[in-house]
């Protein structure tokens, strides 16, 4: 996967890592969760993430989209090492962090932060906002110039909250404001990359737009790299330059915003886009692709191409040979034997 890096960013980045290296590199990442059916049942594995590769450059926004159970959240949690990968390799700034222990992880976590989906359960209700936002600083023993309180108030201001609300508790804030608190906490250590796991899906439409705009401003201002995990394709299109589409533990297509949304190569990407109800499609119900059935179980995924059981283009080859992720005529990289050709409509 090649990516254009803005020269300025590249120059800034070379100070800390070898030139030409992406900020984050994921190779053959796998996570299997063991499950047992019944007391004496055979041990099986949920193949939540089953061998994925991608890179993220400094300041780049990578979107990871897919339906529930495709492994996007598991991937995000492995990136920040909240889950231990079964196999594969995660390289951050040229260092292999796949199996780093807790104490060596700590400095790494300063560079890599996560924002969670649910602004209600991800903030400790017994702590004041000041304490929540200051927590990353105190855990890492960082004493910012001018004191912790000043830094926290600065952060609250950056995310659009009143710095005087320092002493309030999470329950005194609305959902959107709580998500801002989560963002302030993630920014406290001046990270280089943020993994955002469905950061706006629990919010009302009008509040969602506020938080998306905030994240976009912060991304530009601090040149943050983002791994933006979401199921909402329109939100991802709005936020991300590059998008990876996941299905059943695998990446099926990676491409630029333009490639994914205007000329997708993988039939699954096409079907996903077609399923999104969009106000601009009012009255035009023709030409929609309807996928049959549900996503198969990740305990026993289909042979060959995993999407073949729901794909209208599937042939014998699809059951026998797993398609590799290859460059396709439309420009993106996709795993399909019979890719789509030409623009979406």
């Amino acid at each position: 996967m090649t990516n254009l890096v803005v020269p300025q960013q590249a120059a800034a980045a070379t100070r800390t890592r070898p030139p030409g290296e992406p900020l984050l590199k994921v190779e053959g990442l796998v996570k299997h969760f063991p499950v047992r059916s019944g007391l004496f049942g055979a041990k099986q594995h949920v193949r939540a993430v089953d061998g994925i590769d991608f890179t993220v450059d400094p300041g780049e926004t990578l979107g990871v989209v897919g339906e529930s159970g495709c492994g996007k959240t598991t991937t995000g949690r492995m990136l920040v090492r909240l889950l231990e990968p079964t196999s594969g390799k995660i390289t951050f700034e040229g260092r292999d962090i796949t199996h780093m222990n807790r104490s060596s992880l700590r400095p790494l976590r300063q560079d890599m932060q996560i924002i969670f989906q649910d602004p209600y359960s991800s903030l400790n209700p017994r702590h004041t906002v000041g304490r929540i936002v200051a927590m990353p600083l105190s855990v890492n023993g960082i004493e910012p110039a001018g004191g912790v309180k000043k830094r926290v108030q600065e952060l609250l201001e950056i995310v659009g909250l009143n710095p005087e609300h320092y002493n309030r508790y999470p329950h005194e804030f609305s959902g959107g404001q709580r998500q801002r608190i989560g963002v302030a906490r993630a920014l406290a250590l001046k990270p280089k990359m943020i993994v955002a796991d469905e950061p706006v899906s629990a919010l009302d439409v009008s509040i969602q737009a506020q938080v998306i705009n905030l994240l976009r401003d912060l991304q530009r201002e601090f040149n943050l790299a983002f791994v933006f995990i979401a199921h909402d394709l329109a939100v991802v299109r709005h936020f991300c330059e590059r998008i990876a589409v996941m299905y059943l533990g695998k990446i099926v297509e990676v491409g630029s915003r333009q490639q994914i949304y205007e000329q997708p190569s993988h039939p699954y990407t096409k079907a996903l886009l077609s399923a999104v109800p969009d106000v601009t499609k009012l009255g035009a119900s023709l030409g929609r692709i309807r996928l049959e059935g549900d996503v198969p179980t990740p305990i026993n995924p289909p042979s060959g191409c995993r999407f073949r059981t729901r794909c209208w283009k599937a042939q014998d080859l699809c059951a026998q040979v797993e398609p590799p992720l290859d460059p396709k005529p439309n420009g993106s990289i996709a795993a399909c034997h019979f890719p789509e050709v030409g623009p979406l409509r």
Binding site: S206, Q208, S274, P277, V279, L282, L291
Partner: protein, 355 residues
């Protein structure tokens, strides 16, 4: 597509000046504050609004699901001409399921985990058909499961809710709602918990079944996209009141209320310039205990008080449009119609989904 005004008069469901209030320790919550709408058989009304706008509360009132000890309901809810406000429990029980049925957002928490899907559907059927034998009821349930697209219904009927996937559970819920052939189906965020590809299947199913059963459908959602896909009429609610009401074409393509504009401009789209910033509505939805005076939306409205107008004192009435010959399109806003039109063309039409 029918315009709303054709439905008035003999519509199957007519809600007139509905008010629902709850007394709490902190004060009176005005959850629904003077809402009127109507839906006829074969028609779909989409009710759009954010959390706390009163959209669910007004539909629960249609089913008489509010505790009379804790709530005060006034106004009229005419189901097939009969007012259901203040009906006693016995009468309501006869109404629920047979005349009016409901599909809830989360099928896992609205199905009983201890009983099989079949048992629950059979129970729903036999309440209204006390003389039907168990085997007949079971046959009906299997039929229904087949019609909502559950494969091998004769086998799956003995499955438990946890053995069904999210989409299949929602199908089972729809089967249960339709087993008594209701005339009005209320679907409260029926697809919010589902993935997009499954959401598309369920929306198609609701549309198909509505055609087959010739039922009236109320679809409650926060998703303008969902509404645009299946609704004939759209009702936009804010802080317990109606902001705008009209056909889907009118409300989504020629929106007249600043709140509807705000919603349209807030939603990112699959088309248009992705680098353009969204234009969110500032602030947060108000508390329903302490609704702002005048137009409830005025503290968040970008166009409030443009004419030094009465936005902060006087509650705007829901009035029909006069200049643009759009029958059935009503809006509650103090801005003069011509001004709204020019603002829409200049500021709104370019961003978000409002194309």
């Amino acid at each position: 597509m029918t315009t709303p005004q054709t439905a008035h008069g003999g519509a199957y469901l007519q809600v007139r000046d509905l008010r629902v209030q709850f007394s709490t320790e902190d004060g009176v919550v005005r959850a629904v504050d003077g809402v009127s709408f109507s839906v006829d058989r074969g028609q779909t009304l989409g009710i759009v609004g954010e959390s706390g706008s009163g959209k669910s509360v007004s539909s629960l009132a249609v089913l008489g699901l509010h505790d009379p000890k804790k709530s005060r309901i006034s106004g009229e809810i005419l189901v097939n001409g009969r007012n259901v406000v203040g009906l006693d429990d016995n009468e309501l029980r006869k109404l629920r399921g047979r005349d009016v049925a409901m599909i809830f957002q989360d099928p896992l928490s609205s199905l009983h985990p201890y009983y099989t899907i079949g048992k629950q559907i059979v129970a729903a059927y036999r309440i209204h058909h006390p003389n039907a034998s168990k085997s007949l009821a079971r046959k009906h349930a299997i039929d229904m499961l087949g019609r909502v697209g559950i494969p091998q219904p004769a086998k799956r009927i003995d499955g438990y809710p946890h053995e069904f996937s999210g989409g299949m559970r929602q199908r089972a819920m729809i089967a249960m709602a339709l087993v008594n052939d209701p005339d009005l189906l209320i679907a409260d965020e029926p697809t919010t918990a589902l993935d997009v590809t499954v959401q598309a299947q369920i929306l198609d199913l609701i549309e198909d079944l509505q055609r087959d059963f010739n039922a009236a459908v109320i679809l409650i959602t926060h998703d303008l996209g969902v509404v645009s896909q299946i609704a004939d009429d759209v009702l936009v609610m804010y802080a317990g009141r109606v902001a705008e009401y009209g056909s889907a074409e009118q409300v989504l393509r020629q929106a007249q209320h600043p709140y509807t504009w705000g919603l349209l401009a807030s939603v990112p789209s699959l088309h248009g310039d992705a680098d353009e910033d969204l234009k969110p509505i500032k602030g947060n939805p108000p508390s329903l205990i302490n609704v702002p005076p005048g137009c409830a939306f005025h503290p968040r409205c970008r166009y409030a008080m443009l004419n030094g107008g009465p936005c902060d004192i006087e509650v705007p009435q829901l009035l029909p449009l006069l200049a643009t010959h759009e029958p059935g399109h009503t809006v509650a806003c103090h801005l003069p119609e011509r001004q709204r039109k020019s603002i829409y063309e200049q500021d709104i039409a370019a961003v978000g989904v409002a194309i």
